[in-house]
Symmetry: C2
Subunit: 146 residues, 2 copies
């Protein structure tokens, strides 16, 4: 059954997005589902595209960037000139991802630290809050150390 299809709401539910979002992606020519009469019918390929888009979003790519990545799989752009350009894009993208992984690891290290501080503060029962901070919203102009 290699020609399975999906309804718009099924995909929306599966991916935790709204139907509006899916139609929006279509407006942007990121997907082009078939029609059965008036209804949209999504192929596994369409579904895969959405998956790539969402994956891209999670790591901070714009929709256009996701499209660029998806287009890499598109045999249309495969003349020799563009293939070299594409390889460079891949290289660049790879470098971005490497940086992102470093950022994430740094963040995780930071979280470790924060968590330690929390647990430590809880253990020693250090509740230091003398004035009960009566100031509801002091414009937040007062920042703290680090």
């Amino acid at each position: 059954m290699p020609d399975k299809t999906y309804t718009i709401s099924a995909l929306a539910k599966e991916f935790g997005i709204t139907t509006r979002t899916i139609r929006f992606y279509e407006e942007k020519s990121m997907i082009s589902p078939m029609r059965e009469g008036q209804k949209r019918l999504y192929s596994p390929a369409d579904r895969a595209r959405i998956k790539l888009i969402l994956r891209g979003k999670r790591i901070g790519m714009t929709l256009q960037e996701s499209v660029d990545v998806i287009d890499m799989y598109d045999p249309e752009h495969n003349n020799a000139d563009q293939l070299h350009a594409l390889i460079n894009v891949v290289k660049q993208r790879r470098e971005n991802l490497r940086q992102q992984k470093k950022d994430i690891d740094d963040m995780l290290a930071g979280l470790d630290e924060v968590q330690s501080l929390c647990e430590q503060a809880l253990a020693t029962g250090t509740t230091d809050n003398p004035t009960l901070t009566p100031n509801p919203n002091p414009n937040k102009a007062d920042r703290k150390p680090l």
Copy 2:
């Protein structure tokens, strides 16, 4: 010399952002540099904040989310109640990051594949572009397989 300071343009240059961006962060109370007369003067702590903000951005966090992370380092919010809440936030954030790393690894695997395809296509000299695609901008309504 633990009280080094930075000018706005120095930081802008260092981080590859504009001064407008830095002032924008200040508008949002994300940083609060001192003033020397009218000029802003940034402390190492301010600089660290900007670093965290930019790191967050690179992995797709919103500015507010970055602020949330930064606030974890802020001893102000440390009463016992909030400490537990904070630990949960940390936990959740950790899970997000784990997912992001997976996304990145998946992307990297995809890039490997694309690159292989490129090099393979170049090797065999498969230049298939028969009609020279005369169509300037066919509304892009025609999508491709995957």
